[in-house]
């Protein structure tokens, strides 16, 4: 019934997609999977606009494997009317999808370097496609480090995947939580506090940072203390998005349109804005 045509990025009309799988990741967080018949091509870090019939649209990062072109995957957290409706969907529901939009993580340019990924909270969703890509092309990179901070053990997303990656000998995975539960045996504390310990070569490394802005600020400070320059650090920004094509004006961050010039930015390009309140 559904052609599964990918949303035409040049058009602003959503295409209907059927949700073929729903996985509850944590309280209020669900991963939706949609199957397409024509290939859906995206770059890690990009996002789609997801439409809940009659309610509205939200910008959600694509969180699936870029090599699996027959699937469109999104991890949604219930935070408002539209995202709440999306996070509660069941298999068989139909939503509108258009995209992909935005800039992407520099996974190709990073070849030959160490890659340090620091994600906080739901920020692990936009970096997961980058992880898939790096792992699929493991031989092209030096050390690969993933630092992930969650609110509590119950809020850890993609747990099975993280455990699988941790078992590998060629990936460095560390997870920490802000608030421990009684049976938690792992790290407790903020994710920037893990940065002094990790092994990587600051002369030949890039960092991908994604999470709440405060967490990104602290993380960037810790990364710079380790010797990374602002040219080596990439962040994913978030702003209010309506059109996703740079025409409605809502997502402006200084002169940049986050939907079009971002969401991924090389930090030196936005560093002056980062410290300005209410910008």
């Amino acid at each position: 019934m559904f052609t599964g045509q990918v949303g035409d990025a040049a058009s602003s009309v959503p295409q209907p997609f059927e949700v073929t799988r729903v996985r509850i990741e944590a309280a209020g967080v669900a991963t939706l999977e949609m199957t397409t018949f024509s290939p859906f091509v995206f770059a890690p870090g990009q996002f789609n606009m997801l439409y809940a019939f009659g309610l509205g649209e939200v910008a959600i990062s694509i969180s699936g494997d870029p090599a699996q072109k027959e699937r469109v995957v999104h991890t949604v957290r219930s935070a408002g009317a539209v995202s709440g409706a999306l996070a509660r969907l069941r298999r068989g529901a139909v939503i509108g999808v258009r995209g992909p939009y935005g800039s992407h993580w520099p996974v190709k340019d990073a070849e030959g370097s160490d890659v340090v990924i620091v994600a906080g909270g739901l920020g692990i969703a936009p970096v997961r496609p980058a992880m898939y890509y790096l792992i699929a092309h493991r031989e092209r990179y030096g050390r690969i480090v993933l630092l992930y901070g969650a609110r509590s053990p119950g809020d850890i997303l993609y747990r099975r995947e993280l455990e699988t990656w941790r078992r590998r000998l060629d990936l460095d995975i560390a997870v920490t939580v802000d608030h421990a539960a009684a049976d938690w045996r792992g790290n407790v504390g903020v994710v920037p506090a893990l940065i002094p310990q990790i092994a990587f070569d600051p002369q030949h490394a890039i960092a991908l940072v994604c999470g709440p802005e405060i967490m990104m600020r602290f993380t960037i400070s810790a990364l710079r203390d380790r010797g990374l320059t602002t040219h080596q650090i990439f962040v994913s920004m978030e702003r209010n998005m309506k059109c996703a094509v740079g025409l409605c004006g809502h997502c402006q961050f200084g002169p940049a349109f986050v939907c079009r010039d971002g969401p991924v930015f090389r930090f030196d390009r936005i560093a002056p804005l980062f410290g300005v309140r209410e910008i």
């Binding site: 019934m1 559904f2 040049a10 602003s12 009309v13 959503p14 295409q15 209907p16 059927e18 439409y51 019939f53 009659g54 309610l55 509205g56 649209e57 935070a79 068989g92 529901a93 139909v94 509108g96 710079r224 320059t229 602002t230 978030e238 702003r239 209010n240 309506k242 059109c243 094509v245 740079g246 025409l247 409605c248 004006g249 809502h250 402006q252 200084g254 002169p255 349109f257 079009r260 930090f267 030196d268 390009r269 560093a271 002056p272 410290g275 300005v276 309140r277 209410e278 910008i279």
Partner: protein, 387 residues
């Protein structure tokens, strides 16, 4: 009917009643003719049938937070500056339905809205307004994503421009290099010559479409004296600017001073009412509304004008990024005069003065820019310097 053949770029002369003929001819060709008309104490743009709808013999007096109409001593057709409307309401309408979705079981189909039908003919477009339209072209047509309804409306539009006979108290198009002379992007351009001896229009043909429209109407070639008179009109307007804006290094100045104390000062006056964004010919921000009918089977998406001055414009994660009026005024002015250049290659301001006139508390963008320039700190630091 004239026996002579006119060419593009040529300057002709027509009598005032031929302006009526232009309107009738355009209407006859299926255009929706928009021109200046008087309503609610202001000169606004609306559909016109003929010169009887024009604010003949009226002029305006404008200053910060002030707009009044006055009777003129003569019967000029275009004896005023610009009012609260701009042409953006026709190319980039205040509300526009984008698409409709119809539910079928768990699925739905989406149908895009029909493109607008009647092409537009605009009568009386000033140089600053032509620049504003060109700026919107760079926003909606020149980027990676083209706004299709806008493109269609622009493609088929016919523009009759007008060289300003007078500037208003809030005009500063000269500072923005956006007027008062109409230079390009028009089909016909009029300069009104009116004094105790004559009332006529020097008309410049700007395009093949303009030539095609005028060729069968009553015209004669302009004399050297008439061309010189027309140029004097514009030259005189040039000296009448009510405001000036120093644009030298203005982009760098504003981008380097997000914490200037002047922002606090203007925030004490600004009501964040959004009038400025409403009347500004280049402001283009919109929002979308998704609705359903009562049965929940038909959904609609409508785009409407929005303003960066609204509190929820920057709403994300339970709060607004720009919570204070200070940050919202700073955003509007910095975007208009600085960020716009990074985004679209030119300033977003055309010097029309509308934001100054229609601000209820009379905030003047030229005054704010001058105040910041007068007391700004020199630029400091670079991205890699640690703070």
């Amino acid at each position: 009917m004239s026996n002579q053949v006119a060419t593009i770029g040529e300057k002709l002369v027509i009598e005032p009643h031929v302006v009526q003929n232009i309107i009738s001819e355009l209407a006859g060709r299926g255009y929706r003719v928009i021109g200046p008309t008087l309503r609610d104490g202001a000169i606004i743009y609306d559909e016109v049938k003929g010169l009887e709808n024009f604010p003949v013999g009226w002029t305006d007096r404008q200053d910060a937070g002030r707009y009044r109409l006055e009777k003129r001593a003569d019967a000029a057709l275009f004896g005023y500056a610009v009012g609260p409307h701009s042409w953006k309401r026709f190319f980039h309408p205040p509300t526009e339905r984008l698409w409709q979705a119809r539910r079928e079981g768990s699925a739905f189909t989406i149908v895009e809205a029909e493109a607008p039908h009647r092409p537009l003919a605009l009568i009386g477009v000033r140089a600053c307004e032509l620049r504003a339209i060109a700026i919107h072209d760079s926003v909606f047509l020149a980027g990676a994503y083209v706004d299709k309804p806008y493109e269609l409306r622009r493609d088929r539009a016919f523009i009759v421009a007008v060289n300003c006979r007078q500037a208003s108290g809030t005009c500063f198009c000269v500072s923005m290099d956006a007027g008062p002379k109409v230079e390009t992007d028009f089909d016909l351009a009029l300069t009104e010559l009116i004094d105790e001896y004559r009332h006529a229009f020097v008309i410049e043909i700007g395009s093949a479409a303009g030539l095609d429209l005028i060729k069968n109407l009553l015209w004669r070639p302009a004399t050297v004296e008439e061309v010189a008179a027309a140029e004097r009109v514009v030259a005189r307007t040039r000296t009448q600017m009510g405001r000036t804006l120093d644009t030298n290094g203005l982009k760098e100045l504003l981008q380097a001073n997000p914490e200037h104390p002047r922002w606090d000062e203007v925030a004490e006056r600004c009501l964040s009412c959004g009038n400025c964004t409403n009347v500004c010919p280049t402001c283009f921000c919109t929002t979308v509304e998704d609705t359903t009918d009562l049965s929940g089977t038909v959904a609609e998406r409508v785009r409407r004008w929005d303003s960066c001055f609204t509190l929820d414009f920057s709403f994300i994660h339970g709060g607004s990024v720009r919570n204070s009026a200070r940050s919202r005024y700073r955003q509007w002015m910095t975007h208009k005069l600085a960020h716009w250049i990074d985004q679209f290659g030119s300033s977003g301001c055309v010097g029309c003065g509308r934001c100054i006139t229609w601000c209820p508390v009379g905030i003047d963008i030229t005054e704010e820019a001058a105040a910041i320039r007068a007391t700004a700190e020199p630029n400091e630091g670079d991205a890699d310097a640690r703070s």
